[in-house]
């Protein structure tokens, strides 16, 4: 059997597949259910410092071609985070927990990171790239290299102050023209790793009988299997520019072959979110099995050997 385990910023994962933030990510019980279905690690729904109301329904629409979502990052705030993270870690499952955090200001990112760090998740994912949440400039932080760097530096500083040695990964947006420049700015400001990529767009779908945009937020993040080439290209470019920075690659992964493609582009961990819609929560077991079959057929002993080997 091929060894599918990987090390990510010193944290061991039994297989490289992690649940993407925002899918089945609200409660410890739900995280455990996803681990039971084969995930190597879990990313929480984006956590805020305080309660944050999401958008009215409809918030998610999908067909055989794509999914559009504008859930609006709803969250009950820090107390609930503490309950759920504590509960999950208490079960001592072998699937590391990545706490995804989001904030409306650079300062809040620092405060939130510090509080979350106390709960000792294995990693913190800094979500500066949600297409529906805008920073001061009316654009997500991830769209401006300077903002991305400032958030990264602030989070690292507040973790250092709290003597928390939890690695952070900064989640980048695909909706930029200079993703390598932004990636470099984050790494130079202390990011231990990068998560590539958040949803594309935003896009819009209109119901033609009622002539109304369907999502209550009118537009939303675009995801699905057709967006994978964008993620592969970004991971490929970023890995070449920053070969030493580990990457969580995600965006349209549906099969074992997709996960292997993403790892060859340069990803160490591979996220799956919208894939749960197309193949059910069992997708993690299915993809792990498909990776085993491919590795056996192609003589790959350790999955880590294929990382970044695309020509």
């Amino acid at each position: 059997m091929t060894d599918l385990s990987v090390k990510f910023c010193g944290v061991k994962f039994n297989n490289p597949l992690v649940l993407a933030s925002g899918i089945l990510g609200l409660t410890a019980a739900s995280w455990r259910n996803v681990v039971k279905n084969g995930a190597g690690g879990i990313t929480t729904k984006s956590l805020w410092l305080a309660e944050h109301i999401g958008h009215e329904n409809p918030v998610i629409i999908a067909n055989e071609h794509y999914m559009l979502n504008a859930v609006g990052l709803p969250d009950a705030g820090i107390e609930k985070a503490e309950e759920e993270i504590g509960k999950y870690l208490g079960w001592r499952l072998h699937a590391p927990l990545i706490a995804n955090i989001v904030a409306g200001s650079v300062g809040d990112f620092g405060k939130l990171a510090e509080k979350i760090a106390r709960m000792k998740p294995h990693l913190i994912e800094v979500n500066i790239s949600c297409p529906n949440v805008e920073g001061e400039l009316g654009k997500p932080f991830a769209c401006v290299a300077g903002d991305s760097a400032k958030v990264t530096a602030t989070v690292k500083k507040s973790l250092a102050r709290a003597h928390a040695k939890i690695p952070i990964t900064v989640k980048l947006s695909p909706n930029v023209e200079n993703i390598v420049e932004i990636a470099r700015a984050c790494v130079d400001s202390g990011a231990d790793a990068l998560t590539v990529m958040n949803s594309v767009g935003p896009g819009m779908a209109i119901n033609i009988e009622t002539r109304s945009p369907i999502l209550s937020n009118k537009c939303g993040g675009l995801t699905g299997p057709a967006l994978k080439p964008l993620a592969v290209k970004y991971i490929y470019d970023i890995h070449r520019a920053l070969p030493k920075t580990p990457i969580i690659g995600l965006g349209g992964v549906m099969t074992g072959a997709d996960a292997i493609e993403m790892m060859m582009a340069g990803a160490t961990l591979v996220g799956i979110g919208t894939g749960v819609y197309y193949r059910g929560v069992e997708i993690f077991k299915k993809v792990v099995e498909e990776m085993h079959v491919w590795c056996k057929k192609n003589g790959v002993k350790k999955i880590e050997d294929i990382i970044g080997t695309a020509k």
């Binding site: 089945l24 944050h52 819609y277």
Partner: protein
């Protein structure tokens, strides 16, 4: 795999009770009792609604006007467009000829009426325990009465119709008289369902219960409807669940989660749990 709303024109609107209208519209997919659709009122909102009836060509939904989406819906006329997607979730199931006790409350009556309509035609014997505030709030009572093989046990808080009290005690009287049931079905307020779950469990009678949680997607992605501690989404692995599974739901009858995932306790003093 298409979870975009289908625009359907309302074909018929019937006022069932002061609060509840029955909306009928043609729909291309067939449904089973217990399943639900998401009904979208453009520009206002979208909410899950059980299918009250499927005649093979059109659906009927029984919708209580309680908040801003359902109140907006109540203003719609025949011929207006609404958005429907689904059917979603699991359904009630039974075997030919079974003796079934159905415990229904509020809009929970809709799916159980639909089940009774079908099961009574597969010569199941049905005892339908319908609870509600008062006579005028008993949903589909005339239709239920007309079903063959069906004994109708209305129960009203104010005694204006049938048993003066809740439908569960009314059912317990039948149990005490030695009535034997092959299957129990419950759909309505959670505390009523909790009581049914406990009794069925104690008496080892198979039971199916409709577990409803705050829903957003309706197809197992957003996670808002996941129940503690088994963590499964009730929109996909439910709403109708076997009582054996319901017994594993720690939060059942205790709390649910609102639209930001915060715990909301059904009864204040249960917060210590």
């Amino acid at each position: 795999m298409n979870n975009f709303p289908n625009s359907v024109r309302i074909k018929k609107i019937v006022k069932l009770t002061p609060l509840v209208n029955a909306y009928t519209f043609d729909y291309p997919k067939r449904a089973k009792p217990g399943q639900f659709v998401n009904i979208w009122v453009p520009g206002v909102g979208e909410n899950p609604m059980s299918i009250a009836f499927d005649d093979g060509k059109s659906y009927t939904l029984a919708i209580a006007a309680v908040g801003n989406t359902t109140k907006e819906l109540a203003k719609k006329r025949v011929g207006n467009y609404i958005g429907i997607r689904g059917p979603y979730g699991t359904n009630f199931s039974w075997k030919r000829g079974q003796k079934i006790a159905m415990l229904a409350g509020g809009y929970g009556t809709a799916p159980l009426y639909f089940a009774a309509y079908l099961a009574s035609r597969e010569n199941c014997k049905i005892d339908f325990f319908l609870g509600g505030r008062s006579r005028e709030h008993l949903l589909f009572s005339d239709k239920i009465k007309r079903l063959k093989n069906t004994r109708f046990f209305p129960a009203t808080d104010d005694g204006s119709c049938g048993f003066n009290g809740r439908n569960v005690p009314c059912w317990e009287i039948q149990l005490a008289k030695g009535e034997k049931y092959d299957l129990i079905m419950a759909c309505g307020p959670e505390l009523m369902e909790k009581a049914v779950s406990d009794i069925a469990h104690a008496k080892k009678i198979p039971a199916q219960i409709s577990v409803e949680r705050y829903m957003k997607c309706g197809f197992g992605i957003c996670g808002n409807c996941c129940v503690d501690d088994i963590g499964i989404p009730t929109c996909k692995n439910g709403p109708v669940m076997d009582n054996k599974l319901v017994r594993k739901i720690k939060e059942f009858g205790v709390y649910h989660r609102d639209s930001v995932g915060r715990r909301i306790y059904l009864m204040k003093d249960l917060t210590k749990l």
